[in-house]
Symmetry: C2
Subunit: 120 residues, 2 copies
């Protein structure tokens, strides 16, 4: 069993999901590293090198806003869900719940019946 | 609200998930187009142009085997989970269930407590 193969499929699974999880968490203002820790605590291990480009992209797409806080020991960039992001989040949640139901039903399915329904 | 943005995030969500769903469905021998239909019936819409390269990649990775059937009106390539794929599937299912729990708990979370636990 090739572990790099499983790691790769696992990484691809997480890539899409991290975006939904990050948007949901950023209903509350957080800086990037804080978000990495919260995601890890929740069981979604993400590299900073993976997450930060995703956050910048979500900002470019208008779903997040950001703000530098220079009041502390070092400057930190905080992210927060934008108004547009607040509209998008329930739509993404609903996409997620649909996929979720689909995959769980596939994993639990008796396949013989499905294959014959779809025809040969 | 930008629909192309949501479509893109939705597509990335599906990309990883389709691989797990396809491997699970291919416990039963199916040809590619049949798999597209079964996935669509289960609520996971996938383009043939997206799925077929994924199937070839999963075969290259050793998780699927394939076989041409030339007995019908036209030749069809059938896919089936390999022995290696049978070992990988429960691992991927467990990765999936972990991510699933994590995302569902994030979507349901009271965020104020999480953010303060992770520190500023």
């Amino acid at each position: 069993m090739s572990t790099p193969t499983l790691d790769k499929i696992g990484a691809e699974l997480r890539r899409g999901i991290v975006q939904v999880a990050a948007l949901s968490l950023l209903r509350e203002r957080m800086h990037g590293y804080q978000l990495v820790k919260v995601l890890a605590d929740a069981g979604i291990e993400t590299e900073e090198g993976t997450l930060y480009p995703l956050l910048r992209r979500l900002e470019t797409q208008g779903l997040l806003t950001s703000q530098w806080d220079t009041g502390g020991a070092r400057p930190r960039k905080y992210y927060l869900l934008s108004e547009e992001g607040k509209t998008a989040l329930p739509v993404l949640e609903s996409i997620w719940r649909g996929i979720n139901r689909s995959v769980n039903s596939i994993l639990a399915t008796d396949l013989a019946s499905l294959a014959s329904e779809a025809g040969q």
